[in-house]
Symmetry: C2
Subunit: 207 residues, 2 copies
């Protein structure tokens, strides 16, 4: 029933502290950490620019008759997304999935975002974590990270936009709603539990 | 950011081991445990039968124009639910909510199910846990608990029925989808993590 988990994937709401927690867990476990690193790996293999890979790798999705049309409006507003490059967006996703699988097959690591819980679903040595938090904490955090978010209202708008794009991307590539507990091994409310306790719980769960 | 949590609510999928985990956590923390106990308290206060309170307290909901009509079919199939007793079902819910609030105000305890995470949402000393598990484990577990579930097919049918009723009840009284990680402090996959580790993580999170 309980095997030790070599790979840890961390999905997170925007400004929930998920990236900090993921980095800290990797540091404490002394294993490689993949977040922005994935972008350059995918850019190198695909030949696309870093900016385009960053956007399409986690925030865009291609069209589909089955895909909720009301969500598509958001995608059209994303850089790099036009009806002409539909296959390109999917190509980035394919290369990204291949690279995530290669990374996982090499051994212990922490991977942030990019629907990696879904990409690695065939493996039984993966601990899938979802980090989320209360709005008040996320607004404060977003404002302290990004100086262009000078008011709470601007920060909240940005939080909602980023999460909506992540949700669209997740739903498009996995067919499942983002944030449903049952897609993960473990879900943690970072503002309630605190970042350090989240790290401790993840490490306990992985062992 | 991190306060110690006196009250622990445990929501759970059918046959996920949530009840076992809740009982064990209460035992380890040496605090009162409320599950079936709530039924007799509500029955005593309301004057309704134990069977009726058990059914309506967690598995039924009343009609509403805003409530998804397609889910209502299930409710009409529940004992105790007829269009005539709509106010009765809501009355059970009201008395149950009042009792859950009274229990919480008395001090540390573990409360199972009955949308208690939502009922106690105004308090900041509550750790809300959601326990779920893989189908294979839940089928085995349901068969070992209930001897009338003699085949995997029967067990799966029962699991799906009970979870659908709990989801309807939760959605009706909270207006939110059941199983969304963001309604809890902590969500745990019991078949992946194992029951003992779930208990340890809950206790760590509450402290």
């Amino acid at each position: 029933m309980t095997n030790s988990k070599k790979i840890i994937t961390i999905s997170r709401e925007f400004a929930s502290g998920g990236t900090y927690i993921a980095k800290r867990v990797a540091q404490l476990l002394e294993v490689p950490y993949y977040d922005k690193e994935l972008i350059s790996m995918v850019a190198k293999e695909s030949g696309f620019s870093l900016e385009f890979v960053e956007e399409t790798g986690e925030y865009s999705a291609t069209s589909s008759l089955l895909f909720n049309l009301s969500t598509l409006g958001n995608l059209y507003g994303s850089p790099g997304y036009t009806p002409e490059n539909i296959p390109t967006v999917d190509k980035v996703h394919q290369i990204q999935s291949k690279i995530i699988n290669e990374i996982a097959s090499k051994g212990s690591c922490v991977i942030v975002g990019r629907s990696s819980n879904f990409i690695l679903r065939a493996r039984d040595d993966v601990l899938n974590v979802f980090i989320f938090g209360e709005e008040t904490m996320k607004i404060e955090r977003a404002m302290s990270i990004d100086s262009s978010l000078s008011t709470g209202k601007k920060a909240l708008k940005q939080i909602k936009k980023q999460d909506r794009l992540r949700a669209n991307h997740y739903r498009y590539y996995t067919g499942r709603p983002w944030g449903d507990a049952r897609h993960y091994s473990l879900c943690l409310n970072s503002s309630e539990l605190g970042f350090e306790k989240c790290c401790e719980i993840i490490i306990k769960a992985a062992k």
